[in-house]
Symmetry: C2
């Protein structure tokens, strides 16, 4: 399991503060576990995310993967010293198996994406697009849901004209 | 607006009870508004579904569309006197515009689908698939998010062997 590799950072307080301030993310008790060079990891307890069948609600799986990918971009923008609103534009989800464990999500930039190029585009044009991939794993590490999604990065008008 | 057509039924108490028992749906305050011959409508207040930008969280839009489509199938199964667990299998979502209003979702069977055929398949084989389409509209009635999703209908083992 990646968790055991020992090179994860601690949870990300700024990201956790942003998520805790969103009522639905707060209710789902979604929080960061950490990030390494490429991956952001989030966690949420099953109890706060149950459906009618006693397993994880599909909307909660969609939410934590959407937030993990969004959080990856937000965290990397902060590291790069850039400011932008980050909106999900579209997503494709696959639900592979019911999940009876806590929700462990991870997200990363899609392999064909060029993060320095995305940052350049944002700096020059005030907006950019990024494609992310995310999954949720069960306690044994097996993926139970996957998502691929595009995000729009848009510099606030104030920042764009500053 | 469809709401004004006057042939909507009242909210659906059984469906609302199922959704209220799911912690994430309860926290998002998702409830039924009604159903007509083809469409199920759900509602959720913006305040319970805000993101960091003061508009509706993408995960909440995904959740209410996932529940509206799931609820359509659950409601129609009940009307047909059939019992099945209903799982979302995959979905494609498009986020068209930020939503600063309450969430008004609707779902219906995709046009090429044959509901009597789906019910026959479920009765004969114990499982079936159904494709649904859903959207969320703003207060002016303009779609701000759309979803197409496939659901698996699976008769519980007890019912299948009864």
């Amino acid at each position: 399991m990646a968790k055991g590799r020992g090179h994860l950072m601690d949870a990300l307080p700024e990201l956790d503060a942003l998520m805790a301030a969103m009522p639905p993310a707060g209710a789902m008790r979604i929080r960061s576990v950490g990030a390494d060079a490429d991956t952001l990891r989030l966690h949420a307890p099953l109890a706060a995310n149950l459906n009618d069948k006693g397993c994880a609600f599909g909307g909660s799986l969609a939410s934590i993967m959407t937030l993990a990918s969004w959080g990856w971009v937000v965290h990397r923008l902060a590291q790069a010293g850039q400011v932008a609103d980050v909106f999900v534009a579209d997503s494709q989800l696959r639900y592979l198996a019911p999940l009876y464990d806590d929700l462990a999500a991870e997200a990363r930039l899609r392999e064909d994406q060029d993060w320095p190029g995305i940052l350049r585009c944002l700096a020059e044009r005030g907006r950019a697009r990024a494609s992310l991939v995310a999954c949720v794993r069960d306690a044994a590490g097996t993926p139970v849901a996957t998502m691929e999604a595009r995000y729009a990065l848009i510099r606030p008008a104030a920042a764009a004209t500053a």
